[in-house]
Amino acid sequence: MADLMTNAPTLARHVLRGRPEAMSAAEGALGFALPREACRSASLNHTHALWLGPDEWLLLSAPDAGLGGRLEAAMGTHPHSLVEVSDRQIALVVAGPEAEAVLSVGCPLDLDRAAFPVGMCTRTVLSKAEIVLWRTGQQTFHLEVWRSFGAYLRAFLTASAVVPVAD
């Protein structure tokens, strides 16, 4: 279990929403294109953009990268909303050959690699907690969860993983 679930490193987080012209401007600052396909992510170095809605992305970056300031400067007066939520949520990484099965204890989505490929991300639930689930590798998932649900999520995953989940 210790191997299965680890804390993700500290991250800066922003929720970016707005009109297309603002997004185009933001891409200049990001250095890569925001994913426009539903539930897909895009990354460059240690900065990641997760599609959460037609006009909504969750941006994850290194804590001291100054991403927020650069984005605001780039977007200027183009209609947009950039809100820092670094402390709103925490992240867990669930990894290993059992990862898919353990998450399937509480997540109703189809997590098969064909249905939920690497790079896919979505808001969903894990049992009674809302999460953002992001597949970062064949056997690796990154989970974003609001801070106060963290203890519940850890306990649920621990309870899910101590039993034989392989069939």
């Binding site: 947009h80 909303s81 509480g106 899910s160």
Partner: protein, 995 residues
Amino acid sequence: MSAPFRTEFGGQIDRRKSLSFTFDGRIFQGVEGDTLASALLANGVHLMGRSFKYHRPRGVLGAGSEEPNALVSVRRDKARFTPNLRATQVELYDGLVAQSQNRWPSLNFDMGAVTSLLSPFIPAGFYYKTFMWPRKAWNHLYEPAIRAAAGLGSAPTEADPDRYLNRFAHCEVLVIGAGPAGLAAALAASKSGGRVMLVDEQAQFGGTLLAATDALIDGKPAQVWLDETLATLAANPKVTMICRANAFGYFAHNMIGITEGLSEHQAHPAAGAPRERLWQVRAREVVLATGAIERPLVFPDNDRPGVLLADAARIYLNRYGVKPGKRVVVATGHDEAYRAALDMHRAGVEIAAIVDARPHPIGPLVEAAKAAGLTVREGFAITGTLGELRVKGAYIAPIVAAGQVGQTQTLTCDAVLMSGGFTPSVHLFSQSRGKVVWDETLETYLPGQSAEAERSAGACRGKFGLAQALADGFAAGADAARHVVTQTFSVEAVEGAPKGVVGALPHNRGNGAKAFIDWQNDVTTKDLKLAVREGFQSIEHIKRYTTTGMATDQGKTSNLNALGVISDALHRPIPQIGLTTFRMPYTPVTFGVLAGMARGDLFDPIRTTPIHDWAVEQGAVFEDVSLWKRARFFPQGREDMEAAVRRECLSVRKDCGIFDASTLGKIEVVGPDAAEFMNRMYINAWTKLGVGKCRYGILCREDGFVADDGVVGRIAHDRFHVTTTTGGAARVLGMMEDYLQTEWPELNVWLTSTTEQWAVIALQGPKARTILEGLVEGIDLSPEALSHMSLTEGKICGVATRLFRVSFSGELGFEINVPAEHGRKVWEAIWAAGQPHGLTPYGTETMHVLRAEKGFIIVGQETDGTATPDDVGLTWAVGKAKPDYVGKRSLARSSMADPTRKQLVGLLTQDPAVVLDEGAQIIVTRGQTPPMKLMGHVTSSYHSAVMGRSIALAMVSGGRARMGETLYVPMPEGDIAVTVTSPVFYDPEGARVNG
């Protein structure tokens, strides 16, 4: 090998592994592979239960989940005691302790059986007829007596110590049932490369193949083909096979609920081993291969222990190596019983006779029986059984005309095997909202048009023969997988005719004879006929009146025979009578598996704030507020809540208090149209609110009633920091998003929840500024720079902060927002700085009292979803010049301005020591008796330390026009006189917030 009815060889059991078990305290021996039922039968024990209503002795009837009689309780320890298990499904393990039910003092001698003597007085609809009057007797006499007599088994008294798991799964093809059709379907579907799930309720896959003796598949014995097929499927990584799996519910869009037994069958489950798992499977396509259930024959005393279904007897013989008796009568209306008779004959069981109700049975199985020298009595009905706790003989008589029999003959025997044919199991199909259709040829209901992406295959749609079932299953599997593949195997099997008999056999035993239709609910042909005589015509009514088909087995063995009897009585064909709808669960499921992991600490998320642990260390007492734990008060020494709250309140008014407000909902409203959006959502006007200023916002629903409230700060021209109530955070965000996306998509504004981004520390009291001064950087706390209802940004303890000057206590107050990660650090720094100034931590209870002293409402306490802003005294907040806002139109209705509406007022009891009950009613004159004219109710009531007396807030009809009036609060001890006052009790001028 001491069991007298065990065969020498054959079957799916291991005779070398002896298992010891007890049934009703007696020790027996079984073997590995037995069920409790097969092990008892091997020991010659047929009597396994007493019936529900008449307490008649009952033997095992079936061999699977259809069993209506042999309900037992299995006990592992005090907390692990499971009632109402079917002995046919209880896998034997060494040391198993089982007991029969519904009997006292013992199964052989049951006092409750006297009800059988009273049975002439317990007709169908007995309860409805008997317990009608006197009406009062229901509560005191009838209902308790019926409760005591009713019910099967007893529930364990301890909490369930077991663990249960959950699993969501997805597949392209789900096959339910692993008999011939299901296996063939899975085999065909697995060739598509898609994900296939195969589930079966039994411990072993194979269904009827496990008891097959004479069939050849691909030139090999059926069981060899079975083993090879299972190996092929198991080797395919895309195939998931689950046994002990009860597909109990068919939900919308091909969601199937399945419970999987994990450790119940083990003699010594590992400590903490989960007992069961709930699978919630979403399947693109479903193949129902649920088979068919043999129909009993309906004749007098057909419930005598030793009377069992012919195919069940064959399963006991071929699969478990158990003979049902030494000399048996085979009573039938269907060819399959001949197969059972032949197998019995070959195993050395004497066949007294095959008694066939059909006048001229023909076919290969009939011929084979005759060729083997078995006596066949054609055109004979079985008309009764002899014996008490075990059948000793059978009456048979020739059928001479429709419904009439001739001279009775008696056959001695120790078991009767019966078969009326097979009823397709359409339960899950029916659950999926598919409509069944009557098949005239087979005389049974079959699946009709599908409502879901599913298809039935094999015996559950009337394809009874082995070759037919395998071919049908294979085709269904290929179809479900959308894969073209041809059947790879051939089948050689002797097949009988599919049709049997439905309804009751004729007899000459008189009116007193009991011919059972529904074994589990003790419903006889007489009950059904009586219901028809009394005027019931619809099967839905007859079912409820007689309870036929309403037991835990849902009429698996009885439904079609019941329809046959009703059809005869009504002189109407069965399809005109209909069929009741099947409900989940197919077989009963435990509450534990439905609760799953949601128990104890995992019952619900317990949300805690960044300051929670500090409060725990300080000995705070917590209360639940939605999913949050909030500190309610901080007792010192042996203080109770009242004393602690009194002290906390006075400290805030005199010095300063510190309060964790982190749970308040927060929404960041950002974009060029932010102020316009706020104007449309909230009743207040926002355009002129300056940057750095705050306003108390009130949100109404479309109906004009107050939905939520909170302080809103303008961070920038295009950015608002909106707070909501703790419980309303998600609801308000949802409502705002709804409006934005559906009504005003043109607005350039976006919403982001920041509830958990910020830890919020409320510092309230005259010394608040003094305490904070040394901690902030770049912030001027002076009243000139930071007046009441304004905000600023800067740093505190080196951490970026949004610092609000606001007050929910009426005192000088600040709310310090810092990123949650730093919440505790900043809290502790303020705590330390406050020590010389008498800083006191306070909880939600004190917060409530302080705000009530100031007449501040709490949404959900003063309001109940029917209060307008004006009702709670907030007309001043309405932006009257605004063209529109949510609720404005509703508030313009004349009734909203009715002067008799309930309005917020204060109440002071004439006796200052009396604290009113919250929720108490208010009346105008004293000494009334119910029904009284109620003028309102008390919404908040506390002892106020600073006022030195009790205070209360109330919603009173026309309250604001009643200032100074005396009203009364009627209580059981007498009316309490109260005076109507302003809701603002303390510091009515509001001078203190400006301190």
